[in-house]
């Protein structure tokens, strides 16, 4: 390395400045490429942030996919360049039982343990969580009262991930509305429904879980579900910071007339 040979303080400072400016610009580019909230990843993908820190952009998952579902994001698109993704409206994920994309990932950015039972022993493609199918009932013709169950029929987890709800058609007063309903506990985000949807721009579409789902947090517990309370074990709230227990106020002498 020629560096360090005969650099005076001024040269050093100008280099330092150049490095700082370059670093900020470079970092800006990387941040730009990282903000990809709406990108769907292959089966077994770790949470987006961890995934991006592991994916080496080799495209082996893309080559492993027998349906040409996956592709590497090009430069200047809405996903970090070179990372694998899918667009279900073009080609959905057909949920291969041997999950070759995940199995062949050399870095573990696609993690086999996320799509298998008993810690990686038996593959279970139904554990795939590419995202969650979300309904736009405004543009769903079944919700209008027309007869359509394309998404329901296309779903590989028929009657588990999508069910049909029978409700009364209030407009006609004499027909039924057969409403498709997505169940997040079973939906793999494969996008076969999105592919099958008959309207011009799909009224059922897959969004990444981070985008599609809300979060209750620690303030509410399903008291009727065994074990749900353990969710808030170890959490603290305002009551924990009080000097005395709230009940002490009721039990203390102040409220009791003598």
């Amino acid at each position: 390395m020629a560096a360090g040979k005969g650099i005076d303080r001024r040269g050093f400072l100008s280099r330092l400045t150049a490095a700082a400016v370059g670093g900020v610009v470079w970092g800006g580019f990387v941040t730009e490429g990282k903000s990809a909230a709406l990108v769907l990843r292959p089966p077994g993908a770790l949470p987006e942030k961890v995934f991006l820190g592991k994916c080496i952009k080799c495209g082996i998952c893309v080559e492993a996919c027998p349906y040409d579902t996956l592709f590497l994001a090009g430069p200047g698109t809405d996903a970090p360049t070179g990372t694998p993704r899918l667009l279900p409206r073009d080609v959905p994920c057909y949920l291969c039982t041997d999950i070759p994309c995940t199995a062949e990932c050399p870095t573990g950015a696609l993690d086999v343990s996320l799509v298998s039972d008993d810690g990686g022993r038996t593959l279970d493609v139904n554990k795939t969580r590419i995202g969650l199918a979300v309904m736009d009932y405004e543009n769903c013709i079944a919700a209008w009262g027309l007869r359509c169950d394309a998404c329901y029929r296309a779903c590989p987890l028929l009657d588990k991930a999508i069910t049909i709800e029978h409700t009364r058609n209030e407009r006609t007063g004499r027909h039924a509305v057969l409403l498709p309903k997505v169940h997040p506990d079973a939906c793999t985000g494969c996008g076969l429904c999105e592919r099958a949807c008959v309207v011009e721009k799909a009224a059922i579409f897959v969004l990444p879980l981070e985008v599609a789902l809300g979060r209750v947090g620690n303030s509410y517990v399903k008291g009727w579900e065994e074990g749900d309370e353990s969710r808030i074990d170890g959490t603290t709230g305002p009551a924990d910071e009080l000097d005395s227990h709230p009940l002490d106020y009721l039990n203390s002498g102040d409220l009791q007339d003598d």
């Binding site: 020629a2 370059g22 970092g27 820190g53």
Partner: protein
């Protein structure tokens, strides 16, 4: 036939570069199993993993706990280049080499890219290498891989270019119009990484001072000609890691004073840099 002989390494390099990319493209398009993946990480014959060690180091800096496959792949690649010369990657494998060689050839012919303003010094690449690792650690992604024109080119050839041509064209124009050998010889942190790897390489260019007539043809073609300072002065190996073992100097030498050889220490002159 003389041109075949005087370009023997150039032709061999183009064949190797093309063959690697064709095998990778075949792996994607036609299901060939010889080489699957791309230059970032690949699998040979469905068994031996290979990986870009610099990309792996960036991912490790970014905090990724990587699976063993890619770590083994990086170790194999690292060992290979540590023996043959780190920057053998640059001149024998990297497809960007064809782009920059063309730009530099045109630059020599049309006398462009040698303006008085030197944008980057020869050591800039090491700063950029360091910066890549620091940024990877801060941002949590492989920072050079996120913007690398080499990545865009080699991925693009296998999986589709998209807007990647813009980055490749930018490198071409930078080398042609702004700074001769600017990208590969001054900027590229991957080349800088392999230069460090190649400091212990066994295969090196050997200079025979007895035969040399100091015509300096070798310095004209060498993309890193600051390392040929022993030409016309002393016999010995070109020990600097930035030598890409491209062999161009050997084939243009009219006196057969240069050759590939095993590593020898310079007899009377400490060769530059390292």
């Amino acid at each position: 036939m003389t041109s075949l002989r005087t370009n023997r390494y150039l032709i061999a390099r183009r064949l190797v570069q093309t063959a690697v990319m064709v095998l990778l493209i075949g792996g994607n398009l036609w299901g060939w199993t010889v080489l699957r993946g791309n230059l970032s990480s690949s699998v040979v014959l469905g068994t031996v993993p290979l990986a870009d060690p610099f990309a792996v180091i960036q991912l490790l800096a970014a905090g990724g706990l990587l699976a063993t496959d890619v770590l083994i792949g990086a170790a194999i690649t690292l060992a290979f280049y540590a023996l043959l010369g780190g920057r053998v990657f640059c001149s024998w494998v990297c497809p960007m080499n064809m782009v920059t060689d063309l730009a530099n050839r045109l630059g020599r012919r049309f006398k462009t890219g040698t303006g008085s303003r030197r944008v980057f010094g020869r050591s800039a690449r090491y700063f950029i290498l360091g910066l890549a690792l620091v940024l990877s650690a801060i941002m949590g992604v492989a920072a050079f891989e996120a913007i690398s024109p080499i990545g865009m080119l080699q991925r693009g050839l296998v999986f589709g270019m998209g807007a990647g041509w813009l980055a490749v064209t930018a490198v071409f124009l930078f080398d042609l119009l702004i700074q001769r050998n600017g990208f590969c010889g001054h900027v590229c942190p991957l080349g800088a990484f392999y230069a460090l790897v190649g400091r212990t390489a066994l295969v090196r260019i050997d200079h025979d001072h007895e035969k040399c007539t100091s015509c300096m043809d070798c310095l004209k073609v060498c993309p890193e000609n600051q390392i040929l300072e022993l030409v016309g002065q002393a016999s010995g190996s070109v020990l600097d890691g930035v030598c890409t073992n491209c062999g161009r100097c050997i084939e243009v030498c009219p006196d057969a004073a240069l050759s590939f050889s095993h590593r020898k220490h310079a007899m009377s002159l400490e060769s530059g840099g390292s």
